[in-house]
Amino acid sequence: MSDSPILASGLVRHFGSGANIVKAVDGVDLEVRQGEIFGFLGPNGAGKSTTVRMLTTLLKPTSGTATVAGYDVVKNADMVRRSIGVALQDAAIDPLMTGRELLALQAVLYGLSKNAGKNRGEELLERVGLTEAADRRVSTYSGGMRRRLDLALSLVHEPTVLFLDEPTTGLDPMSRLTLWEEVKRLNAGGTTVLLTTQYLEEADQLADRVAIIDHGRIVRQGAPRELKAMVGSPTLSIKVGIDQTDEARSILARFGDLRTTSEGTLGVGLARGAEDVATVIRALDEAGLKVRHLELDEPSLDDVFAEATGYRLEGAGTADTGEKNSEAVDAQESKGRRKRRNRS
């Protein structure tokens, strides 16, 4: 049994046959470590949900192997189901039932006794802030409330591994933040979380490591910081007095390549990363230069995504509605934007 709660090797899933075959997932290798939040990032149709559906036993792989919580997803599907919590896309919750009834139902399905189920239900309702709405039918819940209930349902049996398939798609910013907090809290309690998202910001904020999937293949995998560092160094922009520009430029040059930023500011690509910011400021201060403005522009996951796929997830960084986030932007435009960000 592997120590990694989620381990996939050469995972493939095809739909259709013959000339109409669609390779939804085309050889995914994945390792999610104990206690981490793993972000699975990609546009619609990239293969995120299909991968999650295979890992949660809802779909059999065409080929390849995967273990979740130490159990093979095909050979020990029942054990996998007992070990995981799943909140699927679109919060599939019976609108005719109340939140409390659904939690009680879920508790029975996972083998909890009536009392244990009741207590656990109350605890979870309070945790996700739905105690007052517990006896209302789900049809009266807002999108955010449904998502929170969905999360609570997936936690009834205290799973060690939690799968969240696009948990915040369509939510308003406040509901999104609430859900993020809850996911962080769960993770702090030791739950390993795999979440799929189209939102780069979400992956950046929550995930210890991310995998970027495109056309069924993982094209990048690692900690967001490492991935961003691979794309380029952060740019530090400073503004000093006009008479101090030359001296400031020579000091900045010691920390990396000089970059053109907006008018009146000096820019340097920090070769050793953002850790050097304090050193740069100290050096400028020791030289008697007065810094009037300072700005650090780090490469984003959007840049990583563009680097890996040749296009961008438009609007992914802001992610207010989620509706336009998966629209691919032309690769040339993407590269142009990145150039402008780093060199203009």
Partner: protein, 276 residues
């Protein structure tokens, strides 16, 4: 509190008959609650049968002046109409119950169930049992309304009970057949498209008019139509003393259809799961 299920005995029992019963029970409860909480869907299965019964009683009451009718069929047309109303109500409610299963598939609740360590069979059994409970409730209400309107059940409480059980078995047969279709198609529209077909089959049976008074191809179709025989079994409970032929028609015939239909539904489920 650590309530993760790790005990091997408990895990084993997860696949046991006890789990099947527990899961089926909670899903039955959900199914019944879901029915009762959709009055706009359940109401037609009460209103239309009662309307047709009222219409038939008003239109054909003179049939009760025919000695053959009163001797061999029913003492009044109202008494005759009970079985047709029960059959119609139960069939319609059963199709709606199966449509709910298709809606579960369409809206993703079915996947939520599949992602849990639930006995797969209980997903179907819960829905079928729910349909039977609603049918028993529905038949009871119908009988009370008809008795209130002046109908009399010749075989007394046993006939009453016979009809309630017959309604439940018919519901089992129809909802299993439609559940199979729901699982196979995953579409509530496909299931609901069965309504017109059921209507035609009912009108081509003795549900609304005795076969004795039919002629030509209409009579031939009604003779072969299993619905005629089921509804005549129901009529027997109301209008005659209890005998085996009523049980055979009202219980055994739906039961036979139910066994085949349940097999079809479970096979559809198995194929759907294998396909995924």
């Amino acid at each position: 509190m650590n309530i993760a299920i790790t005990d091997p005995h408990l895990m084993k029992s997860g696949r046991s008959l006890r789990s099947l019963f527990q899961h089926s029970f909670v899903l039955t409860k959900r199914s019944v609650l879901g029915r009762l909480r959709q009055p706009a869907i359940i109401a037609p299965s009460f209103i239309f049968p009662l309307f047709f019964a009222a219409l038939g009683s008003a239109s054909f009451h003179k049939l009760a002046e025919d000695p053959y009718f009163t001797k061999n069929i029913a003492t009044s047309f109202l008494n005759y109409a009970i079985a047709g109303a029960v059959l119609q109500g139960v069939l319609f409610a059963s199709i709606s119950a199966a449509a709910d299963l298709a809606i579960d598939i369409e809206q993703g609740f079915f996947e939520r169930l599949l992602a849990s360590p639930i006995s797969r069979t209980s997903i179907v059994l819960g829905r079928l049992a729910g349909s039977m409970v609603v049918a028993m409730f529905q038949v009871t209400i119908f009988l009370m309304i008809f008795i209130g309107a002046g109908a009399r059940i010749k075989s007394g409480p046993f006939g009453f009970l016979g009809l309630v059980i017959g309604g439940a078995l018919l519901s089992l047969a129809m909802s299993a057949m439609m559940a199979g279709l729901a699982i196979k198609s995953g579409s509530s529209e496909v299931v609901q498209s069965a309504f017109p077909l059921i209507f035609v089959l009912m009108f081509l049976s003795s549900a609304f008019f005795p076969r004795h008074y039919m002629s030509g191809w209409y009579r031939t179709v009604a003779d072969w139509n299993p619905i005629s025989h089921i509804v005549e079994g129901f009529q027997g409970f109301i209008n005659q003393e209890l005998d085996f032929s009523q049980f055979a028609k009202a219980w055994l015939l739906p039961l036979a259809v139910a066994i085949v239909s349940i097999f079809f539904a479970l096979r559809s489920l198995s194929k759907r799961l294998a396909g995924s």
